[in-house]
């Protein structure tokens, strides 16, 4: 299965087999394309995806030692995401499907993340998923491919966004997660008091906007003194980790009440943060849950997870009239977070 991912900043292609062997998993920004493209990597512009997508697919085939005639199916992210990029991947995949006479799959980007734990770790259904990235923070019970029950989501910002904006406030650069983690190593996580929004709430939703605001105010009070930066970074990381751990603990209780303890899968770029992982691991242990985190190259945006999500339902390809979806919830019946979708 050839997978294509182009829903945000990255253009990626991968080739994955039925037996979970990843023959190739390429991301354009990590490829050495300086010779041809002067180091330009895809970003906002759909044109940027268009410029590199053929090369990334060719590169994946070359890495796998396959020709396009040996591909049995082609999958592309069909949403959610930036519509221009999604269109580029979708049109490319459809063209390959038509030209080769092979099935086409439109994959939900979030489902790619959701099922990545089964690609790396053979996790069996049902399991609890914490999806934490720059754009998403969700807790879902995964009952099967295509069967998701959303327990909670963020009412405002994603956890990754809290890292990015915190780093921006401190002038630490982008992406903010790794920058803050590095800076936090020398800081005291208890030095700066920050709120833990929604801690102890009976539902499983998240909120990070108030934390961001409080952090901006603390930073302004301290005047951005350089000796305070490490403490600020450590305190912000601790606050985000506490929020994620508390909400996940709530979700594990809810999951266990219906299904008993199972595995907690953490997917998305934020899963790479060691402090967050350690705290979630502790909570999982207490709740009797196992824990599974796909390796970094399967946690950040990648095309292997897209190919794998298609393989999970290989008997049910999509029609070629599929139209990309800028928003595409995994659980269309999910209850809204409190205070939203209600007219006041």
């Amino acid at each position: 299965m050839l997978g294509i991912e182009s829903s945000c900043d990255e253009t990626a292609a991968a080739i994955v087999c039925d037996d979970k062997t990843i023959l190739a998993n390429l991301v354009a920004s990590q490829m050495d394309m300086h010779a041809e493209y002067g180091g330009v990597v895809p970003e906002v512009a759909a044109r940027a995806h268009l410029d590199v997508i053929d090369q990334v697919i060719d590169g994946a085939l070359e890495n796998a030692g396959l020709s396009i005639t040996q591909i049995d199916g082609v999958a592309a992210t069909g949403g959610p995401g930036l519509i221009g990029g999604v269109l580029v991947g979708t049109v490319t995949a459809k063209a390959i499907a038509v030209a080769r006479g092979i099935p086409y799959f439109a994959v939900n980007h979030l489902e790619g993340h959701a099922l990545s734990g089964r690609l790396s770790d053979d996790v069996s259904f049902p399991y609890l998923l914490l999806l934490v990235s720059g754009g998403h923070t969700q807790l879902l019970a995964v009952h099967g491919a295509g069967q998701y029950e959303r327990y909670g989501t963020t009412m405002d910002d994603a956890a990754g966004e809290a890292f990015d904006k915190g780093a921006k406030i401190m002038g630490l650069g982008y992406p903010g997660g790794p920058a803050i983690e590095k800076c936090a190593k020398d800081g005291n996580p208890k030095a700066i008091q920050l709120p833990r929004p929604l801690r102890g709430a009976a539902h499983c939703h998240f909120s990070f906007s108030g934390l961001k605001t409080a952090f901006a105010q603390r930073h302004a009070q301290l005047g951005g003194k350089s000796d305070a930066i490490t403490d600020l970074a450590a305190s912000l990381q601790a606050a985000i980790a506490d929020c994620l751990a508390d909400r996940t603990k709530q979700a594990m209780q809810r999951f266990a009440a219906s299904h008993g303890p199972a595995t907690l899968v953490i997917a998305g770029g934020v899963a790479a943060n060691a402090t967050i992982f350690a705290q979630l691991e502790k909570e999982a242990l207490k709740a009797g849950f196992g824990i599974s985190v796909p390796p970094g190259h399967l946690c950040t945006d990648n095309a292997a997870m897209i190919a794998w999500a298609a393989l999970e339902r290989r008997e049910a390809p999509d029609k070629l009239d599929f139209a990309p979806l800028p928003r595409w919830p995994l659980d269309p019946n999910a209850a809204p977070p409190p205070g939203q979708g209600v007219r006041s």
Partner: protein, 157 residues
């Protein structure tokens, strides 16, 4: 021109401003939301979207995707931009912002990234921390005389 300066005591007051604005908006309106990180731009935008699109249950932050699109109850498209991550002003045209200016209601966070490509009819809403009150905000509205007429109801005498 400056239309008004308001003081918002708390988050609820920010939301009330959003509800008021939502009732005034129509296709072609452009709102530029300025202010520091955490000032309340997204909360104001969220209040407007919730009021105009009550069927929407999730109103995610558009920071990551740069734009989220909605449709109001009266079938007017509503585009919520967050240009925070935009590196080059020209990239915004890839997002279809020119069509949105004509057909939709546009809420634009971090409009500074557009480097002066906003239409003249834009209503600019600047939100700042109120140094004298912890959760308070000061809001300045700027726009053309047409906006002043449309917003006259809410303006202090």
């Amino acid at each position: 021109m400056q239309i008004a300066k308001l003081t918002l005591a708390d988050l609820a007051a920010t939301k009330r401003l959003g509800l008021f604005l939502a009732e005034q908006l129509m296709a072609g309106d452009v709102l530029a939301l300025k202010g520091e990180l955490g000032a309340g731009k997204s909360e104001l935008a969220r209040a407007i979207i919730q009021q105009m699109c009550p069927k929407e249950t999730d109103i995610p932050s558009p920071t990551f995707t740069l734009v989220q699109t909605y449709e109001s109850d009266s079938k007017v498209p509503l585009w919520h931009f967050d240009l925070y991550r935009l590196a080059e002003p020209d990239d915004v045209f890839e997002l279809g912002i020119e069509e949105a200016f004509i057909e939709a209601i546009c809420l634009i966070e971090w409009p500074e990234r557009l480097a002066g490509c906003l239409p003249d009819r834009t209503l600019t809403i600047e939100i700042n921390y109120d140094a004298s009150a912890n959760s308070g905000r000061r809001v300045t509205l700027r726009g053309n005389p047409a906006w002043q007429n449309r917003l006259s109801e809410m303006l202090p005498d």
